[in-house]
Symmetry: C2
Subunit: 592 residues, 2 copies
Amino acid sequence: MPSYEAPNKDTAFILHELLKVQDEKIKGFDELTPDFTSAVLEEAGKIARDVLQPINQSGDQEGCHLENGIIRTPKGFKEAFDQYRAGGWNGLDLDPEYGGQGMPYTLHTAVAEIFSSANMAFTMYPGLTHGAISAIYVHGTDDQKAKWLPKMIDLEWTGTMNLTEPHCGTDLGLMRTKAEPQDDGSFKISGQKIFISAGDHDLSDNVIHLVLAKIPGGPDGIKGVSLFIVPKFLVDDDGKVGTSNGVSVGSIEEKMGIHGNSTCVMNYDGATGYLLGEEHKGMRAMFTMMNEARLGVGMQGLAQAEAAYQNAVAYAKDRLQGRDVTGTKNPDGPADPLIVHPDIRRMLMNQKSFVEGARAFILWGATMLDRGHVGGDKDAMGIISLLTPVIKGFLTDVGFDMTVQAQQVYGGHGYIEEWGMSQFTRDARIAMIYEGANGVQALDLVGRKMAQDGGKHVMAFFAMIKDFIAENKDNEAISADFLEPLKEASKELQAVMMYFMQEGMKNPNAALAGSTDALHMFGHTCLGLMWAQMAKAAQEALDAGTDDPEFYKNKLITGRYYMTRVLPATKMHGVRAVAGADAIMGLEPEAF
Amino acid sequence: MPSYEAPNKDTAFILHELLKVQDEKIKGFDELTPDFTSAVLEEAGKIARDVLQPINQSGDQEGCHLENGIIRTPKGFKEAFDQYRAGGWNGLDLDPEYGGQGMPYTLHTAVAEIFSSANMAFTMYPGLTHGAISAIYVHGTDDQKAKWLPKMIDLEWTGTMNLTEPHCGTDLGLMRTKAEPQDDGSFKISGQKIFISAGDHDLSDNVIHLVLAKIPGGPDGIKGVSLFIVPKFLVDDDGKVGTSNGVSVGSIEEKMGIHGNSTCVMNYDGATGYLLGEEHKGMRAMFTMMNEARLGVGMQGLAQAEAAYQNAVAYAKDRLQGRDVTGTKNPDGPADPLIVHPDIRRMLMNQKSFVEGARAFILWGATMLDRGHVGGDKDAMGIISLLTPVIKGFLTDVGFDMTVQAQQVYGGHGYIEEWGMSQFTRDARIAMIYEGANGVQALDLVGRKMAQDGGKHVMAFFAMIKDFIAENKDNEAISADFLEPLKEASKELQAVMMYFMQEGMKNPNAALAGSTDALHMFGHTCLGLMWAQMAKAAQEALDAGTDDPEFYKNKLITGRYYMTRVLPATKMHGVRAVAGADAIMGLEPEAF
């Protein structure tokens, strides 16, 4: 069975030496001292290791089952959920007025990675609830907030997001679910929703569904979609759970992975719903949460890669097979450990340099969300809005690849479910799809975010890289190994952006044809920036005479690997991104 | 449920217009007229579509079960096996002296792709038997051949290959299974083998295991390994199946995919075995089959990509979602089909240009095996020996990626088992691992095949490309679009080879660190060569006034896509391949 230890030393390095969160002048950040965050991460690590990870594989094998209309989660999920709930983890970054602890979202993100690595399927139950809470918190009336939030933050009730229908996923304008207005101001919701994660289960006393639906007579398409709160059980004015609403589980989906999470077909049959936010502005309400939700999915890509990586390392050190061609390393044993072999190292270094870079990228992104939401920093909000599709698309694509490579380290054992490596791959696969398939992320980047506010944020992003390079050009520890490749990647990416801007207007397909490659170039450039910054921080620690020089030296070595061996992917993506529409659109549909 | 149609038009184009098999002067090839091959492919396509494909998904869902020591294959497998057997498909390319039909291996390969696309798990039962037959055919005595081959070719009995043990997969020198010589010339085999595909089942009357084991007192390590024929049931001199031998199924593995194939732990407890080939020369006997077996696994990468591609195309044409940004294509419908979107096209074109290129590559490889084995052409044998790790490693790595992209076209439905796309991904995953994990293929390429016979074959390979470019330099239809990028890729690959030769001696890890990247460069260059040759053939058909110009025009368009958008991967791999050992080996094992 796989194991997992939270990478707390690395997270602490990123929080306190790279991002220096303790110095941020935003509400809540003053509490993020190294001592405090280390206590929180340590506690989260214990729950992850001792409570969530032990039921990850069994949850995958057992799955969720629909029995007489009730969904049973796998053995141990309820007990784990109660422990998670008792620890107050769900409210870590939420408003104390409703029972939260008011910590920065950045800390929540660091902790969420840990739980997600240990048990992605489990962590989705509170994760979806967290998203629903944010929607109600931002768009709800005071009464709605008072009614729903305390019990959701407490996890007495959980939440879901209901967008997809059988005939529409990306194109929600095709939605058919209806919301008929009632005399008392409520609505009767009718229709079918599919792929509803955590749609129903036996973990909480109520499930609060956020449901997109159309009010008859409203505008056509996406502009006529509204958002509703639809509880599984109606709740009276005193907050007591009453009779069941017209909500039922149609079926439970058999999926490739995340078997421990109940993915439901939900049927609404005249269920009572309450409008959340304005009529016909449901998509806007959804989109205010998108940055957060997509950052959370990007984090899942990292989280599965991290968990898979840890186990690949353990196997590579333990499994004896073949000899080091440069000289035996284990003369007393029948063979050397796998880790002596360069191609095994290649896979492990790919994983290590990815997860450490991705962790920095996501936590940096989380600080920008905090700066924007709490600190009112519009520039930070602009940058994170630009980078959100990159975090979601790039980190889940590469995160999945990394789980495949971790599985590969195991050879034949990687294919056997007993060893647990297949599960990381199967679980990670969904993150490329949900919360907007990665092709939609690429479209969002190229078709919307790049040009947002007149291209201001993309220019700010490049200026940030340029400034960092200029400020550190005399820093010999990083100039040749980090700044030069970063500069090159950034230049290549800018050339692609320029091409898109020139071509985009006259031939939009030319930009769209290169969108995924541009997204990947963007992602590599961001990780290159993270590594350059981490290298700088590591060198500073070494120069200051740290008492743990190995940790910082290893950071530099790992970073150099990324810059030398991984970042050159931009060369391939750069050529592909500007190859134009003709190559891609040349065939008539019937020629496929 | 997914569907499948054999791509017979494409296969016929490759066989008759690209490879011109009908003109080969090797025994058996004179029968390969277009009429004949088309009749064979059509019949194979019918069985694939009507018999094997319909039980692919149900076989995945049901899996194999061990009941009271007997393995039950999924519902319908036995009936399908009987039909497959009755059609004589297993003996298509085998010696008529033992009941085969004596066709070229090339035709067998074309047909095997079809069956494997329709049902990979099923096709492995005859596939493993085919491998075991080859071993006995090449290394068996006349008596052994007479005793075992006719019933194995007829599929009355099936075969297996037993190499891996719990503590050794790649490093077979660590093997512990013993073979004690008996007075009658037979051996008593004792030990445990794992990951035995088709190890036991209810499809045939006997299972003939080929087992690697050590004769006590022989040389240490890999040089003391011998190969044995160990039947599940002993067979008397009249060929009658008698009492059971000391062979039993320890357990059946729960795997990520190929659930319809029984992957067994096999226990040998003093089982009677018969030496096949020479004592202590078991690995040599195994390796004579490796080219064929690895080509077969590379074919599986293609086969799963093809099946997944066909379904992704159908979905992309059928599913209405969003509008073409350049103008509505389906004004009467609520949305345009997915196929109008450039990023969907990108994924479909990746798949299409891969499967068509890969099919040409594999069938070309198969003709070289025929030229070598039947025609005695040592140069062809040298080239296919060089390219075998490329066919296996590259086509299974990329084939898997293509199944992931096909799954991605389906959005959320791709993750739901009911739609069948997850199965292609899960089934394709094993091909990167078995028959030598792909890292071992890269090692084989760089550490052995490149330098084989003084580098003669690698030079011949580059000369072949150079000659083709020189011969066609005035062919305007292909010179700029095909020959130029091929030339560039070939040059980049040669530079890497040169670096490896220079560094390899003084710093072997530098070459090994780049081995997988070199393998992928090799693969892309081969597919680039295939596309250039196919483009030439297509243009010739157009010039000759074909009555199906669309087919050939589409070949050119698809080929241009490969050259423009896919082949530039060599730019990334080229940088990585020569990045040296330091970046990859810099960390101490404890730093991971």
